[in-house]
Symmetry: C2
DNA sequence: TATTGTTATACTCTATAACTATA
DNA sequence: TATAGTTATAGAGTATAACAATA
């Protein structure tokens, strides 16, 4: 087998990234949610969370969280509840509908993984995972160097 | 070596996708451009193009192209020129500055590919590329089935 | 009639800055 | 004084719909 050029490999990584993005867009249209709101909902999988914690978790400003939570309240996915000990804070809390959406996100993820990799030969999947880890490590080092 | 779970592999693919996105954000800040304008500039690497062709190429509405071109005209990266044969159309044309930006995009891309994959063993890189192709193929099939 | 690009309008995500209530 | 969240303001990307100029 021929050794591909480095740019060929990067082309493929970008192609795969674009497919991942396209799949997200498909899910957005299906669910009526937006990418930012899905990201926030995903953070609520572990239970209710204060807005400042959500801002730190998804790396946006507190102002931005206000808007995202407004949208999710309007669509019935979350409610704002009083924080038990800090009267300044609000606990963003998934409703039944929000929990359903989170569960669907999870099962969709597991299903996609199964369809993509469930049929792949074990040794080959292990090799793929190692190459991905290696690439992730190199990439992370480059990002750290670049600041 | 242990066979990873399908979700482990998908986790790694998503992690790599996030690093690619983060690298794009880094380039956006460096260049003062936005992701959408970079995508449009990239389409101009082959030379001037009419707005309707750009709209089809990057899959946004013609109205959207108007706004993106407005921004790139304001920043001095492109100009609107008369189409030689169709007086309805305008040819979006890179300036010297625009061409410089495109050349930087290209060299940054080649450089990144070299840093990520230039040092990888040939056989391993070939195996990685094959696994990526396989995953891309499966993913594409899934997207087609889902519409 | 169909196509090209624009104006009009609207929604979302994002940010900074100033402010209120609370700790 | 510091923190949590909001209002005020602004810029960018995206979309649909109506429209003018041209093919």
């Amino acid at each position: 087998m021929t050794t591909p050029a480095p740019t060929d490999a990067l082309d493929k990584v970008l192609h795969l990234s674009m497919l991942v993005s396209a799949d997200m867009v498909r899910y957005e249209r299906e669910s009526g949610l937006t990418a930012a709101r899905i990201r926030l909902l995903w953070e609520l999988a572990g239970g209710p969370s204060a807005q400042h914690a959500l801002a730190a978790a998804i790396d946006v400003t507190p102002r931005n969280i206000t808007g995202l939570v407004d949208g999710l309240v309007a669509s019935g996915h979350v409610t704002r509840e009083a924080h038990p000990t800090d009267r300044r804070a609000t606990l963003v809390t998934p409703t039944d509908r929000g929990r359903d959406a989170i569960a669907e996100l999870r099962s969709g993820y597991v299903d996609l993984a199964q369809r993509l990799f469930g049929g792949m030969d074990g040794a080959r999947l292990a090799g793929f995972a190692e190459a991905l880890d290696d690439t992730i490590r190199r990439f992370s080092e480059l990002m750290e160097d670049a600041g």
